[in-house]
Amino acid sequence: MELTVTLEINEKKHVLTLDSRTTLLDLLREELHLTGTKKGCDHGQCGTCTILLDGKRVNSCLILAASADQKSITTIEGLSSSNSLHPLQKAFISHDALQCGYCTPGQILSAAGFLNEPWERTTEGIKEGMSGNLCRCGAYPNILTAVQEVLENQKLLNPQKASHS
């Protein structure tokens, strides 16, 4: 069953004809060759396929591309602007927040989602907020430091509460 969807990916509009069964992850990697988004477990446990869908972080392996029609998507390829890296990317580099790097795009997109969410800006809050991303190298302490630094630079260390409902 083929259908046409319109997606805004990294601020660029794509009109795509695709099989209705394609996951967002497979669309990004196999059709659009945006291979920065990684496939890990392919069943929603590891978080390495994390992208932003209308600004909210989701596992792209558990979403049909068809159900994202008319929505806006941000992947690691679209996070930075022109020649300048996103502050999270800079912080991950300067704090050595990775070893093999496979989980890194997902970690960074997840942290980017975290910045927009009303979680407490505490160490425990960051750990809880980042708990959906696994790192088998165990780079967690440096990932935590990198995210903390970005939050501090954005002067967001005060607890902020907002309502989503």
Binding site: R21, H43, G47, L62, I63, L64, S67, G113, E128
Partner: protein, 289 residues
């Protein structure tokens, strides 16, 4: 996705009445919300269904609102919505605890309360909360709307009292004038499916002290479905003896050995959780403190 997808078909619901019609005209079709469970089963090849109806766009099923003396939570409300809802925080905080314990934020942004109910896993994290809260499930189809008590909803392992063409529309939660308690025991703090999960309420309202329903206890992962420990509730209401109540509890649960834990571990932890909760809330412990 590793499953053979060549035979799968996905339909899109444009409106609620459209969804009702599709459910009626496509026997065996499976309604889907955030797909956080379905895609996993598809990948493992354990799901035999080949036709799916995507309900995600039906925003009218995503509302959380007070309706008179109960809280109505739409079936498509995500865990993230529930966690950040002031109404849920005020009315049924143990549902926030349960929702926060599910997966990572990526899952909480997609997983829904209706999906947890429809999936019907005995380990479903919100299900003991709904059982202890005596929630009501609102179902709809082309035939109209009907309500069913959550405690009558499951009829066996992943089986429920819904007609094949019905959809879950919302859950209605009556006011609980009680202390609420929730505990999930998993292999690790985050990203774990429960080995055992418990929700309980104990009313401190003087007007309800003669009401045997003032104590309500529910468990997940201890039987083919989520269960209310009715006999344990009665035992505690009668004399408050925790040792007797623990024995009663062990006689009314049927834990099994499976991939996540053993029957013996679950029996031991169930009895311990009961004692931990009762030690905190029982009238005797309050007098001591």
């Amino acid at each position: 996705m590793r499953a053979a997808l060549s035979t799968l078909k996905f339909l899109e619901a444009g409106s609620l009445s459209h969804a009702f019609k599709i459910m009626k005209t496509h026997p065996g079709i499976m309604p889907t919300a955030g797909c956080t469970d379905i895609y996993v089963s598809l990948n493992f090849g354990t799901l035999k269904v080949r036709e799916f109806l995507n309900l995600w766009g039906l925003s009218e099923l995503r509302k959380i609102q007070m309706k008179g003396d109960y809280l109505s939570i739409g079936s498509l409300a995500t865990y993230t919505q529930i966690i950040h809802s002031d109404s849920v925080k005020k009315w049924i905080p143990m549902l926030i605890q349960a929702s926060s314990s599910i997966g990572g934020m990526q899952i909480q942004n997609r997983g829904t309360l209706g999906g947890n109910i429809g999936n019907g896993s005995p380990a479903g994290d919100t299900l003991p909360v709904l059982a202890a809260a005596e929630a009501v499930v609102v179902l709809g189809s082309t035939e109209g709307i009907r309500r069913i008590s959550f405690n009558m909803f499951y009829t066996g392992y992943r089986k429920n009292a819904m007609n094949p063409e019905e959809l879950i529309l919302s859950v209605e939660i009556p006011r609980i004038k009680s202390q609420q308690w929730y505990r999930k025991v998993g292999t690790r703090a985050a990203q774990a499916i429960s080995k055992i999960v418990m929700a309980a309420v104990l009313s401190k309202d003087p007007e309800e002290q003669q009401d045997p329903r003032r104590i309500r206890i529910a468990f997940g992962s201890l039987a083919p479905t989520v269960i209310r420990a009715f006999r344990t509730e009665t035992a505690l209401a009668e004399n408050g003896n925790i040792t007797e109540a623990q024995k009663t509890l062990l006689s009314e649960i049927q834990p099994i050995d499976d991939i996540r834990s053993t029957a013996l571990y679950r029996q031991t932890v169930a009895a311990n959780l009961l004692a931990e909760w009762w030690g905190k809330v029982s009238p005797r412990s309050l007098i001591k403190s």
